[in-house]
């Protein structure tokens, strides 16, 4: 079945993931309501997203919807169940899906650290030159001259004693 996803959102009451899509009949939008069952404020959003994406009845419709987007929608639902405001939930999602350059990751527990690492891995993989890439070079040397003209990194303290 040809299905072009247009929009995907969440309804809180009763909870459901709603997909707006087009099928073969171009120009005619259709809506699919996928009820969310057995989800509480204690549930794991990434797991719920995976389950929905692999659900045999919805699978083909959700092909173009990323796991990440579904996970985010479930996070909204969980925030709602926790009684958080939309702004609070958005802030929480932002914190969980980005790296705060000021945050000391040494202070996180294993699970939180693994999450941050997986966010970083996305960029790593995007920029990664793999061994089987046709233009892979093992030893790449690039000189970055460190002369007087350079601007300070801005990370050093003002005082001359400290770095």
């Amino acid at each position: 079945m040809m299905c072009t996803a247009k929009k995907c959102g969440i309804r809180f009451q009763p909870p459901a993931i709603i997909l707006i899509y087009e099928n073969e009949m171009k120009g005619k939008s259709r809506q699919r309501i996928m009820p969310v069952r057995n989800f509480s404020k204690f549930s794991d959003c990434s797991r719920a997203a995976e389950q929905l994406k692999n659900n045999p009845r919805h699978k083909s419709y959700l092909e173009q919807v990323s796991l990440r987007q579904l996970e985010k929608l479930f996070s909204f639902l969980r925030g709602y169940l926790l009684g958080q405001s939309l702004a609070e939930t958005m802030e929480q999602i932002r914190r969980e899906t980005t790296i705060d350059p000021e945050e000391d990751l040494n202070k996180l527990d294993d699970k939180e650290l693994a999450k941050k690492k997986s966010i970083m891995d996305e960029l790593f993989e995007k920029n990664q030159k793999k061994k089987d890439d046709p233009n892979f070079v093992y030893d790449i040397e690039v000189e970055f001259p460190q002369d007087e003209q350079l601007q300070s990194c801005g990370w050093d303290t003002e005082s001359a004693d400290e770095f």
Partner: protein
């Protein structure tokens, strides 16, 4: 306890006294890319040894320096850096240090000071290279100056474990530095430690034949 007794041989550090062995340690905050750098350098040729009891990963590598074969052990942290401090044995007999920060995260640069202080407590003289990793994510950072390295006159390498920039050079230089340190150093601390070890041995001979001291809670005998 039987298992425990078998373990220390994995971590035998005596071998680092042998001429053809060097030990290079990696330092730096969580998630700066220490392991990714190791893996990029060694590619498929690595078999990391997880010593989880010590929160430590060992990478073995064979290098050739000036026609001589050198066995290199790279020591990488496995979560122990979380405590912003490493066990003394991590530094023990190290011949060079690779200290990494993430150019995208200021805090990892600021924490270099802590790592460096601890390194110098244990190894006052060994060569230390500072590594600015992840330059693929922010190329502009290679145009900046970093006072920390200037203050301590440490070499600074701009690298990317992702695209490979300067990774091989970094490790080859580190190996070279480790080897030359080992050949030339009359490190005061090394000598003191050697003295202490000898002293220790003499004392032990006098003592009642003592079993291995691991986990012992005895208070040290007063001298």
């Amino acid at each position: 306890m039987a298992e425990d007794r078998a373990k220390p041989c994995e971590l035998d550090q005596e071998k680092y006294d042998a001429d053809d062995n060097v030990k290079i340690i990696c330092l730096g905050d969580s998630a700066v890319g220490k392991s990714k750098l190791m893996e990029r350098f060694l590619m498929d040729g690595f078999v990391p040894q997880q010593l989880s009891t010590y929160a430590l990963t060992l990478y073995k590598h064979t290098a050739t320096v000036d026609g001589r074969t050198v066995l290199v052990d790279f020591w990488d942290t496995a979560g122990q850096e979380r405590f912003q401090s490493m066990h003394a044995s991590y530094y023990h007999k190290a011949h060079a240090c690779i200290m990494v920060f993430d150019v995208q995260r200021k805090v990892t640069y600021r924490n270099l000071a802590t790592w460096y202080t601890e390194l110098r407590e244990f190894r006052p003289e060994i060569p230390c290279i500072v590594v600015a990793n992840k330059i693929d994510a922010d190329r502009k950072m290679t145009q900046k100056s970093f006072n920390f390295t200037k203050k301590f006159s440490l070499p600074l390498y701009f690298v990317s474990a992702a695209d490979g920039t300067n990774v091989v050079k970094l490790f080859n230089d580190a190996i070279r530095l480790a080897v030359s340190y080992k050949q030339n150093s009359r490190d005061f601390m090394d000598e003191v430690l050697q003295e202490l070890e000898n002293f220790d041995l003499e004392q032990k001979e006098e003592d009642v034949p003592a079993p291995e001291q691991h986990g012992s809670t005895e208070s040290p005998s007063s001298s």
